[in-house]
């Protein structure tokens, strides 16, 4: 971990990191954009997963609900990665040397995998999840896993601030 520590020290000393650190509004403003994108993803995930589990709005097929919200699940991700990167550059050690941050990234990969796990079969067959074939138990399991992982991502994101690493 010696090299990671020296990388963080180097990054924190770069002019761009120094500029972020000394300009007071940068971190709160970037965190605000980050949270707003989380809001878009979290709400879209919740509304889609509730319908996937058979609990949400049944007046329309799941494929229609998914088509409405999927862009709001995937498109904020580049913004989240960009704002997250700015926050790392501003305070490298706070995230990179933090086990909760590593956990959050692992959860994020899981969340993307879970989303693809329901999205890809749906792309081939629009009634895959709510057709007559009776896949409801599997759909419920996927929806539950998705919600739990996203909730864990939000919790981990906040806990990064409270875990002192050095």
């Amino acid at each position: 971990m010696q090299s990671l520590e020296s990388f963080c020290t180097w990054l924190a000393a770069t002019p761009v990191s120094q500029a972020f650190q000394t300009t007071e509004w940068v971190i709160p403003a970037v965190q605000t954009v980050h949270i707003l994108c989380v809001a878009a993803v979290m709400s879209s995930v919740l509304l889609t997963d509730l319908r996937l589990a058979g609990l949400g709005d049944r007046s329309q097929p799941f494929a229609a609900v998914a088509r409405r919200y999927l862009p709001f699940i995937w498109w904020p991700l580049p913004v989240l990665l960009a704002t997250g990167t700015i926050l790392i550059v501003a305070e490298p050690g706070r995230a990179l040397q933090n086990p909760v941050f590593v956990l959050k990234m692992a959860l994020l990969v899981s969340a993307a995998a879970i989303t693809l796990a329901w999205q890809l079969p749906l792309a081939r067959n629009a009634s895959f999840w709510d057709g007559p074939d009776g896949r409801r138990p599997a759909a419920r399991l996927v929806a539950l896993a998705s919600i739990l992982v996203w909730v864990a991502i939000v919790f981990a994101g906040r806990w990064i601030a409270y875990i002192q690493t050095n």
Binding site: P28, I35, A39, S43, V154, Y162
Partner: protein, 166 residues
């Protein structure tokens, strides 16, 4: 008068437990952040439909009926957790300008919503398409969206202007 009430709130056993406990504050904050992402994201679904940027093929009535129950449930959780966080340091938060502005903005968002439900949106059931949606309703949606974005920003700024992990 108000300050002595705030002080006694802050000295109450639950507030003291949150302030002095090692992990209570961050856990409550986690739930608060989760709830606010759902509030802002789900209300944005309705606002974006009112403005005419999303869910263009659905009536305003349908969109509201499926998302507003989620918004209200999440708002109740955000209010409860927010009150607990506030109680732990009531005198400091009450004098923080960003906290004061955040509360004012939430009241304004509530007034905007009340105005919509009582006057502007009385015939919302007839707004089947974006073309049917009157300009006054679109403005209400845009105002709501701006207010909630500002609520998130001011909420984040509270953390940077009182002595707390950010």
């Amino acid at each position: 008068m108000l300050d002595s009430w705030l002080q006694s709130l802050q000295d109450s056993p639950p507030a003291t437990a949150i302030r002095e406990g090692a992990t209570l504050f961050p856990w409550i904050e986690c739930v608060h952040v989760l709830a606010l992402t759902v509030v802002v994201g789900s209300i944005a679904v309705v606002d974006l439909r009112l403005i005419g940027w999303a869910s263009r093929d659905r009536s305003v009535g349908e969109v509201s009926a499926t998302t507003l129950p989620i918004t209200w449930s999440a708002f109740a959780v955000a209010l409860l957790t927010g009150s607990l966080l506030f109680s732990s340091n009531a005198t400091t938060y009450a004098h923080n300008i960003f906290f004061q502005l955040k509360m004012a903005l939430i009241v304004a968002a509530g007034a905007n919503m009340g105005l919509y439900h009582l006057l502007i949106g009385r015939d919302a059931r007839q707004w089947r398409t974006v073309a049917d949606t009157p300009v006054r309703a679109r403005i209400t949606g845009a105002v709501s969206l701006c207010l909630w974005v500002a609520v998130v920003a001011f909420g984040r700024w509270i953390g940077f202007t009182i002595n707390a992990p950010t």
